[in-house]
Each structure stands twice: as C-alpha cells, then as structure tokens.
Symmetry: C2
Subunit: 335 residues, 2 copies
DNA sequence: TTGTAGGCGTTATCAC
DNA sequence: GTGATAACGCCTACAA
C-alpha cells in the first residue's frame, strides 16, 4: 500500500520494468502506443522514480553538497542564492550544510556527511574560514569529490572562486586620492587573510602617493556597526584632521557615519567615507554610502559552473586556476 | 579503483559484510577484536557508508526537503538558518530548493524533485505564497510526505508554524495610543493575507478607541524603502497633521523616516514610527526604530521539531493545530 | 559471534 | 520493440 514503484507501473501497463525505464529516459525507442499506456499508468498511480535507486545504479547523484556559514551576513546568503539558481539550471539538487556560531559539528563531520550522500561535488563557502588549510582535506586524498571554494583565499592550488580583492580597494583609494583627500584613515577588519591584503594595499597606495600611512591611521574592528563606531572614535582622537576613511565593510562605514555626525563633521564635504560589500542598507543610510559592490550571487553561479566542469571532466584533477570576478565602485553620496 | 564499499572493508578485515554493518550500527554484538580490526580497515580504506543505499533498504532517507524563497529578505534566511540548526541536531540532512524571482520552476516540479529524492518530510517557507492553496498539494493525496508550512496563512487544516500576527500589531498600536497619539496612519504591504489582517487590526483598534481610521490614513506600499518613501509622502499630503505611522515592515519605516526628516518633522517628538520585522539595520538607523521583533530562526527550529514529530508519528495524518510563536515589541527611539 | 542469501528500486546487457 | 536478468551498496533474516 506504500508508494508506487517501477514494477507497479509495469504491471499496471502490462509491460516490463525495463520498458517503463526506457519510456521515461528515452534511451531506447518505445512504441507510441506503449508509451502512452505507460504514461497513463504513471499518472494514475502517482509514480515518482526513486532518485536514490537511480543514483545507486548510475554511480552518480546529481546532487551538490554546499557548506555555508550561518547566513547572518548578506554576502553568504546571496552566494547561496546564486548557487541554487545555477544548480537548478544545470539539473542538480542541493544538499545544504551550515556552519553555526556555536560550532558543534566539525568540518570533517560535514565532509563525511556529504561524502556519504555521494554528492557529485562540493562547494565550500564559509568566509569565516579564509584559510582553506583549516578545512583539512588532505586526509581524504583523491576520495574527495571535486570541490570549489568560494570567498576563500586563492593561490592554494585548490579551485577557488572569489572577487578581485586588489581591484576593489585600489579603486576606492584612487577615488579618494583623486578627490584630493590627504589623510585617509583605515578601519580594518579582523586579522584574516583578506583584511591583511586590503590593509597592505591601503598602505602601498598611500606610500606611493607620499601620503601618511603609518599605523596610527589604522583601527582594527570587527565587522559590526558598533565596531565601526568605536574604531572611528579612536581614529578621530588620534587624527582630528583626517579627511577620509576606508572602511572594511559597509557596517563599519555606517558606524563611522554615526560618530562623524555626532562629532559634527559633514560627510562628504569634510570627511569622505568608502564602504565595502554594497549591502542593501548602504543605499539608504544618510548620506548614502559610496562603496565597493561585490558580485555575491554571480560568485555562487560561477562556482557551480566551475564545479560542473570539474565533475564532467574525466581528466585527472590538476591544479585549478583561480577565478576572480570583477568588483565595482558604486558612487553615492559619502565620497 | 573507485570508492571503497562495505565488501572491500569486509575483505580487508577478513570478515563478512554483515559483520561490518553490525560493527558500525551496533545493532548486534561484535567481538572487540573484530570490531577493532574493522575500524582499522575502515580508516585505512577511507570507507564512508553509502547513505543512498542505506536509505534504499531502510525505506527512509533522514533528509528533509526545504523550499524557501530567494533569500533576498532577512526573514527567510534566518528561518533557513533555524531549520538547518534543528535539522542537524535531529540528525537530518537538508535538501534545499529555492523559488527565484524569474520563477521558471513550478511548485509541482519542486515537489516532484523532493518526492523523487524520498525526503522524509518537507518544510515550505515561501512568504510570497501566503495562500497555501497556491502550492496545490491536492493532487499528491497521501503520497506527499509530512509537510509543515512556515510563514504562511494558518487555519487551513494544514500544519502551519507562524508568529502571532494579531499580537504584534496590537502591541504596536496600544503602545502608540498609550503615548497619546491621535492620528495614526498606516503604511500597508501588498495585498496578501497577512497584510490584510494587519490593516484590519489597525482599523479595529483605532475604531474602538474612537480615533480616525478611514481609508485616507492608509497607503499601500511594496516592501521596499522607496515604497515607504512614496507612501509617507502621500500620507503627509493627505494628513499633514498625522502624529504616528504604523509601517508594514522596517524598510517602509526607514523610507518614512527619510521623508519625515526631509519634511523637518522630528521623530519621535512630532511623529512616532513603528516598524515590523526587526531587521538588523533597524537598530542603527537614526533614530533607531521601535519595531516588532519576529522569531524567524525559532520559527525554523519549531518547524523542524514539528515535522520530525509528524514523521515519527505512525498515526494517520490528522488536521494539525497551528503553532503561533510570540512576538516582541522592541522599544527604541522612533516611538 | 559470525557467515550467507535475498531484496530495496532502478538501469544496462543480453536475448528474442 | 520488448522482456528477463544481473548488478549498484547496503541491511536483515536465517543459518551455523
């Protein structure tokens, strides 16, 4: 009395199970009359082929394993949306696994779960873990399905899809300098690989331009609005005469905005601010944030396309080139 | 040369496949020595049991199908986070399917996909489809696995987990009236079931209090900041003397805030505003929004718990009671 | 305590 | 064009 299977359909349509299979897959011809009879039986019986059994015999699952963070941040949920979009288009289902704040489940447990589900490939999109080393894949050797990393540090020999880190900060800095800003402070993010890169670029560009770039112009923050407030406060104490701020993300920029408003510094006439991420609210704070727009959803789509290519390529896995998508400086009011 | 299976392990450990199975499941005793030998073989061979094959023979998949929207809104991604959290805790994996803007895939295709994957249950969390009718489940009859709806209209005989719609709006209105507000306008959302409910409550409470509540005090908006701006603009034209606004969500409230600032109306001294949702940015706009906090993540967790209960109950599916979680009025600056 | 055989639902191979 | 049969990897009676 349970759910109908291919044998039930075969019996109902007076054919063999193999013929039902062929009628559905079209891999071998079936006479139009039989075809119709089978289709009728399928709909009256409400038959849905069992993907699990199909995967078992075919040896592949048309399922992609995705590991993301808790989705508290705008970026990762956009990435996930992009992943789902492209996966659906390529005929893959998605098995989702999230890394939560109180991280009880280890990376290995997640990977084991995905491997046990025989996913065709894995997308790893956990920006909190910038270092791909931390994921600890070595032990799996070549038993690991093809894997693509999103929003993680490139140049590790693994397949990474990311945005162009250098380009974003460079554009922002050039914009500020072009505007004649001389004392450009930097609110840096936590000590991750990309934060360090961006601080380095900030430093190098100022140094080349002969502008001040010592450590007193840098305040380290977390990624939050209050963090930005505190950092801005400190910077203003150190350098009351600063005329621009490069923030590590929009939330920090918004925090800075609040502090500057409280200190009666006009943005952008007295102080320019550039954010990072282009979260939706950056467009409707006042003044609206000039910021770097990151292609989150496209990152997800690209990762899926790249992964499908890896899956389809029968060749031995070889060092994959990193894919870096372009960013865009979105000009609004704050700079 | 491919991935190791249970026979490989058995051969390597000099036991039968059945013993390996028992060693892993613990369903029947295995001698400590054999146990150890098997565990060693498993780790040297890198064996991971095939969940698909297990599901095939067990007849259940320990996988939950989840249907969400595109995650563009804060609420749904929090719900998804809650779902994943609780699912992991209950030992379920998640098969994710998203409804995108350019919705090419029909509800039926999604359901078919999930059914084919033999998910143990389904969580349907697509606020855009308030009417559970639109999902069109009738055709599946009792072949549909247990299903729980999140953020959808209750009282349909289906199992629905939602927040208490009446309570939120009631609290907000009482708060405004208690403050002595007399002309309380309403920015309503698109014509969905919950929008209508909330407008109704707004009307009834004002009516009971003997305060103006005719249609000229209502402006219909979409869920966006610009929508809120336009609505506020219209309301201000109609009633320059209004002293409070009940917005359908925080984004509309933020839009209203911008317009009021431009019109030189002080918030909250001249005009009070209450939002809805408690999105993160509502805490750091200026003035910070007083708003209704909805238990999004808890909604997701509750849905999973409810679903697991449905799955485990061998009883015939019977009309499920709706579960309504409490909301909270978050007092900040705007009211 | 351990081994053996049958079957879960499907597809591929071989025969007709 | 169609039907029987043997896998896929695993679990579970039943037998030893």
């Amino acid at each position: 009395m349970s759910i109908a299977n291919i044998k039930d359909v075969a019996r109902h349509a007076n054919v063999s199970p193999g013929t039902v299979s062929n009628a559905l897959s079209g891999k071998r011809p079936v006479s139009p009359k039989t075809q119709q009879r089978i289709l009728d039986s399928i709909s009256t019986l409400g038959y849905h082929p069992d993907t699990l059994a199909q995967s078992l015999v075919n040896g592949h699952s048309r399922t992609l394993g995705v590991v993301t963070n808790h989705l508290d941040d705008y970026g990762t949920s956009r990435v996930l949306t992009g992943i789902d979009q492209q996966a659906a288009q390529n005929g893959y289902s998605i098995l989702l696994t999230m890394v939560h704040r109180n991280n009880q489940i280890t990376n290995n447990q997640m990977l084991t779960q995905l491997i046990s589900h025989r996913v065709a490939g894995i997308i790893w999109a956990v920006p909190e873990l910038w270092n791909t080393d931390e994921v600890n894949l070595a032990q799996y050797g070549d038993r690991l399905p093809p894997t693509v990393f999103v929003l993680m540090n490139p140049n590790t020999g693994l397949s990474v899809v990311n945005y162009n880190i250098v380009d974003g900060t460079t554009q922002a800095m050039q914009h500020l300098i072009r505007q004649g800003r001389k004392r450009i402070a930097h609110i840096a993010g936590p000590a991750t690989w990309d934060s360090q890169q961006r601080t380095l670029i900030w430093h190098n560009i100022l140094s080349e331009a002969g502008l001040p770039c010592d450590e007193s112009y840098v305040a380290v923050s977390d990624w939050s609005v209050p963090g930005g407030e505190k950092a801005m406060h400190d910077l203003l104490n150190q350098h009351p005469d600063l005329d621009a701020v490069l923030a590590c993300n929009d939330h920090n920029a918004i925090g800075a905005l609040k502090v500057l408003r409280a200190a009666n510094r006009n943005v952008p006439s007295e102080v320019s601010i550039v954010g990072y991420d282009n979260v939706p609210e950056s467009g409707y704070v006042s003044p609206a944030l000039t910021t770097i727009s990151l292609p989150f959803a496209e990152l997800g789509r690209t990762a899926v396309r790249q992964l499908c290519q890896l899956i389809d390529s029968t060749a031995q896995p070889q060092p994959q080139p990193n894919i870096l998508l372009p960013v865009e400086l979105v000009m609004r009011e704050s700079a």
